[in-house]
Amino acid sequence: MAINKVVANVEEATKDIKDGMTLMVGGFGLCGIPENSIAQLVKMGIKNLTCISNNAGVDDFGLGLLLKQKQIKKMISSYVGENDEFERQMLSGELEVDLIPQGSLAERCRAGGAGIPAFFTPAGYGTEIAAGKEVRVFNGKPHILESALEADFAIVKAWKGDTAGNLVYKYTALNFNHVMATAGKITIAEVEELVPVGTLDPRHIHTPGIFVQRIFQGKNYEKRIEQRTVRKRS
């Protein structure tokens, strides 16, 4: 049989997350975010968190909920645009912010999971992002050295997951969830549908269970849409 990663609920999954820890939180905007786990972190009232997440949610949803309670000390993100409370805390100096090019953020998470401590990328060369970083020219083009990111916990959201921790994501909810799942010392996956092993096609698994330490059946997903754009039927 496969290794069983199932925990009873969000409380058990997150029980040992502590003040001051570094968390990776999957999602892009509000798409594919671990809603249940974020709500539980709010409830637990853990403080001084460093959150690595592409975005910072909106005022009343996603990581915005943790920001409102001032539980986050530092955000490591690529874009944090839709959040007034974030802006207030950042401008007042309450919140540290480390902005990273989105591709470098993704690659640094992947590197963290893949045992690659550092790599060269052209992104950010010649900008303030490159300050203090090693520059090296390859094929006539300057690159900067970026380092791997790791986290005490990676918290991701998947569409379907099996008891062995294998994960499948729905459409663009894949985004940062997969790379972050690989980079947590402990990775927690909440899923819309927890299925028995043997249900998911071995060829179609996005995140193999080896990267996931805990999985639980999530509930009451709101799946809020940030920018509802539609066209008229002609």
Partner: protein, 218 residues
Amino acid sequence: MLDKTGIAKRIAQELRDGWYVNLGIGIPTLVANYVDKNITVEFQSENGILGMGPFPYEGEEDADLINAGKQTVTLLPGASIFDSSMSFSMIRGQHVQLTVLGAMEVSQNGDIANWKIPGKMVKGMGGAMDLVASAKNIIVAMMHTNKAGESKLLPECTLPLTGVACVTKVVTELAVMEIKDGAFHLLERAPGVTVEQIKNATAGKLVISGEVPEMKLD
């Protein structure tokens, strides 16, 4: 003089059959509406889509299917979905033939500034730094001057840079310019715009060779 739609239409003329294209937020997004029916291009969205389609019909929005601007979108036949690291492998690895994005400033050297104004709230660069550092062909869509009437085409950028020596063309409400050899080379005038107007609105070095044709838009 062009409106935003006009800029998008003109940029759409730059697309070539078989290209993969990444469109930024704002005017660049509009480019998708004006692709020549005789060519096939596929749109890449850096949050993880290739083969992105138009907005969904009302009632068919899926919270799990958005573009990099967080807008609900659809998939065209032949589309694929992938994670953020693979998405930027495509971008960094120069598999995307064209990137179109907005800017606050562009220099005659091809430097671009579009992510940060000192003293103002910084929202972040998103994928822009990866895109401009990687793509071989980068077209900037923007207004020629800012709200104060100052040129956005400069000898050197004054704002913090997004990337250096990377912009290949700029399309504004006034003109199409190619950037090479440390100068803006005027290729086309917008309908009704004079070379003089473009000169006056361009602070960076502007090279004008012979007669400058007026652009043709359908």
